[in-house]
Amino acid sequence: MKILYFAWMREHTGCAAEQITLPENVKTVSELASYLGSLSAGHQTALRNLKTVRVAINRKYASLESPVRADDEVAFFPPVTGG
């Protein structure tokens, strides 16, 4: 599974993209975020407040309850500030 981080979340995790093997017990975005948060102190900081985190699965907005699959591209990012 491909994971992407943007803006200050990318700076905390120290990587823009990482390839992970999805653990069997991880079925939703929420569970995925918990798992990723356990990878490093930086990951934990990036994902500590899920209320302010936006998620996209395969480049479409998703929610914490959305199901994830091994071949998904899942992106975590802060609220957007373009325009």
Binding site: A7, A56, R59, A75, P79, V80, T81, G82, G83
Partner: protein, 154 residues
């Protein structure tokens, strides 16, 4: 509806973009140009050195195209052009262009404002500001989220 969506580092030419929106039946063109301001908005002393725009390639185009398609369902539009720059931008440089063409002015004005409001809150771009006191990521503004409310009531 003719739709052009571009996300790129290069600057754009407002005159040429507006010209490209002309066509049969078009009586009204509304456009919006977003420009890097000299301050970060927290005070006159916070002089901005530069702004860096990060984005999520592929998703930005997809999301903007989806927003434009929704505008096309709400208003009778002949053409829409959206350009959003990424990378490092100095004060006074262009950031974003939104242009809409229709038979009448209401459709042109409202759809351009609609696209800007959604672009601000949905398109995956992030701004990092460099001031003399360092660099920081721009916080999302609650007023931008609130701006969407007026379109939901319709």
């Amino acid at each position: 509806m003719q739709v052009t969506v571009l996300v790129c580092e290069d600057d754009f030419d407002v005159g040429a973009e507006t010209e490209a929106l002309r066509g049969t039946g078009v009586g009204a063109i509304a456009s919006f140009t977003g420009i890097v301001r000299d301050t970060d908005g927290t005070g006159p002393s916070q002089h901005l050195i530069a702004l860096t725009l990060e984005h999520y390639p592929q998703m930005t185009e997809t999301e903007i195209t989806r927003i434009v398609a929704e505008a096309g369902e709400r208003w009778p539009l002949a053409a829409v052009r959206v350009i959003h720059r990424v990378g490092r931008l100095a004060p006074q440089e262009n950031i974003v262009f939104v242009g809409t063409a229709s038979a009448h002015r209401d459709a042109a004005f409202e759809s351009a404002a609609f696209i800007m409001d959604y672009l601000k809150t949905k398109a995956p771009f992030w701004k990092k500001e460099e001031t003399q006191e360092g660099a920081h990521w721009v916080d999302a503004r609650l007023s931008d989220d609130e701006a969407l409310e007026k379109w939901k009531r319709r």
